[in-house]
């Protein structure tokens, strides 16, 4: 554990938002400079568009995009890595997911077009949920919605459950290669909660969504749909037939752990614990079942700030997460003890600090293996 903290100290540049250079960039999005309500995203200028740009430009950008140098996005990613302030998280997530364009002049237009497009899908396809072709998909979604975060009152509201049904159904029929797979329902919740938080001052988990203006409700729904779609685009082979993405990731986790912590790896072997028995869910639900929702949201700040955060960096986070429980794991004396521990890790008290340390360790692992893929190879 000591090396963990040492590393955190020695690599402050990766996440220290108090760095002097960072002050200017963070200034426009500092909570104190924000209007008290963010009823329109275009009021918030989070991107340092005035920064001098380098000469490279993103390919495939139209003339209007030239106002937004690639460095702006890089800066935003850099600052988001260590956690995004609550007040600017909604717009930052929209930007980082690639849903909202960096160019401010285009934002309103794009938002309107995408939101209209989503409700166009609803109008065109949602009634087909009772058709023979889609009724199995809808049935599965319908069974799972009341079972999504069942302990959080927000998700038991009929209005919210209907939103989730629409989002998941439309996504499923537009992605027939995977269709709806249990676990995808969980992936909507961080987006929904974050976009809802724009309109809720206090306790989001108990907020009555039906009390919001209908337009607002619809915007939250459409934005959640599109951001979830962007996320899933990057990890779709987790959910296609035989779930190859997950199987590969579980194998990769095993390989990684065998290199970084032989004790744990051998301990699992000795007691015949297979990685699939606990890590399948870690991959399928992106650790959402292992962490409180607030921690997942913080985790996703970083996942979205990372290139390939959900598809690649997650593996290192899983490895770091496993090693986090090293002491507990090595104190178990039989298979059942190990499985019970690994499937019910005690994270209930976890908050930003724990997630921050977890991410720091994951970053260290990734850095180590990205620079030297054969490092520690057995």
């Amino acid at each position: 554990a000591s090396s963990f903290h040492e590393f955190a100290r020695s690599t402050n540049d990766a996440w220290d938002i108090n760095d002097e250079d960072d002050e200017d960039l963070l200034a426009p999005i500092h909570p104190s400079s924000l209007p008290s309500t963010l009823h329109s995203v275009h009021q918030v200028p989070p991107l340092p568009l005035q920064q001098p740009s380098d000469t490279t430009r993103e390919p495939d950008t139209g003339p209007a995009d030239r106002l937004a140098p690639p460095t702006a996005e890089e800066e935003l990613r850099k600052h988001s890595w260590s956690g995004i302030p609550r007040e600017v998280r909604p717009i930052t997530w929209r930007l980082l997911s690639g849903y909202l364009p960096a160019n401010m002049e285009r934002r309103d237009l794009v938002l309107k077009r995408k939101r209209d497009e989503y409700f166009g899908f609803i109008e065109q396809y949602y009634h087909s949920r009772t058709d023979e072709t889609y009724k199995d998909t809808y049935r599965q979604i319908h069974i799972d919605i009341p079972r999504t975060n069942p302990l959080i009152p927000l998700f038991q509201q009929p209005t919210v459950q209907e939103v989730f049904e629409r989002i998941l159904f439309i996504w499923a029929i537009r992605h027939p290669a995977s269709g709806y797979v249990q676990g995808i329902n969980d992936l909507v919740t961080p987006f929904f909660v974050v976009f809802l938080s724009e309109f809720v001052v206090e306790d989001v988990e108990n907020f009555d969504v039906a009390s919001l203006p209908l337009d607002t409700q619809r915007n939250i729904e459409a934005d959640s749909f599109w951001c979830m779609t962007k996320l899933l685009d990057g990890i779709q082979d987790n959910y296609t037939f035989a779930q190859p993405g997950i199987q590969n990731n579980v194998k990769a986790l095993e390989e990684l752990v065998s290199r970084i912590d032989e004790d744990i790896h051998n301990y699992f072997k000795r007691y015949e614990v297979e990685y699939l028995q606990f890590a399948f869910r870690w991959m399928n639900n992106l650790l959402m079942r292992e962490l409180p929702l607030r921690c997942t949201i913080r985790l996703w700040d970083t996942y979205q700030a990372e290139q390939e955060g959900f598809s690649h960096f997650h593996l290192y986070v899983c490895a770091a997460f496993l090693i986090e429980w090293r002491k507990e794991i090595l104190s178990m004396v039989d298979f059942q003890g190990l499985l019970m521990l690994l499937q019910n890790l005690p994270t209930i008290h976890w908050g930003n600090e724990e997630v921050g340390l977890l991410l720091a360790e994951a970053y260290r692992l990734k850095y180590m293996f990205a620079d030297a893929p054969n490092h520690y190879r057995r």
Binding site: Q140, I143, D144, P146, R147, T148, N149, P150, Q156, S178, G179, V181, Q182, G183, N185, Y239, F241, A242, Q243, R270, Y271, E272, L276, Q277, F280, R281, N284, N285, R289, V333, D334, F335, Q336, G337, L339, M340, Q343
Partner: protein, 212 residues
């Protein structure tokens, strides 16, 4: 260290999504019931120790996700099970129809001497019933299985059905059982044997008693 159990085996819960597999298990192992239990992803694990005919039986119960997409994963667990619960929901004709599919998967992927039992869950929801008790009985008979209607909600027939499957697994492994009985009558002998073999912890002991 006192030995916590004499034998260990694995049971598997199979059946469509939402029939109440996890709720059956929670009722059995923890005597708890949550009507909106979070959906199972992949395979979950629980265990409980029963005493049958003076033998301490530790059962590992693997609770599977019902959705079809997970079957590549869940089928990997079939071959190491000794007993299987085939679960449907009496308020869902569809889940009952699918029992045939689950049973044929078991035939294909599970060991030959696997013990099976048919469960019609949610028996408390009589007003929503779509599958008559007689239909369950008939299907069970056709497949040569025992049959229980259960309710995790009201705790009806839960212990009974788990115990029955455990007894069947014990009986099916009678040869091993007789060997075990002989050793149970002479605990000292068993302990001495374990020491001799350098077995000092539960996992190693479990290998000894595990038929897999």
């Amino acid at each position: 260290m006192a030995k916590q159990y004499d034998v260990l085996f694995r049971l598997l819960l199979l059946g469509d999504s939402g029939v109440g597999k996890t709720c059956l298990l929670c009722r059995f192992t923890d005597n708890e019931f949550h009507p909106s239990h979070i959906s199972t992803i992949g395979v979950d694990f629980k265990m409980k120790t029963l005493e049958i005919d003076g033998i301490k039986v530790r059962i590992q119960i693997w609770d599977t996700a019902g959705q079809e997409r997970y079957q590549t994963i869940t089928k990997q667990y079939y071959r190491r099970a000794q007993g299987i619960f085939l679960v449907y929901d009496i308020t869902s004709e569809r889940s009952f129809q699918h029992i045939m599919k689950w049973a044929s998967d078991v035939d294909e992927y599970a060991p030959d001497n696997i013990q099976r039992i048919l469960i019609g869950n949610k028996s408390d929801e009589e007003e929503k019933r779509q599958v008559a008790t007689g239909q369950g009985n008939k299907l069970a008979k056709d497949y040569g299985m025992d049959f229980f209607e259960t309710s995790a909600s009201t705790n009806y027939n839960i212990t009974e059905s788990f115990t029955r499957l455990a007894e069947q697994v014990l009986a099916a492994n009678k040869k091993d059982l007789d060997l075990l009985r002989a050793s149970v009558t002479d605990e000292l002998n068993l302990a001495a044997l374990e020491e001799e073999e350098g077995i000092t912890d539960g996992a190693a002991a479990s290998q000894k008693g595990c038929w897999c």
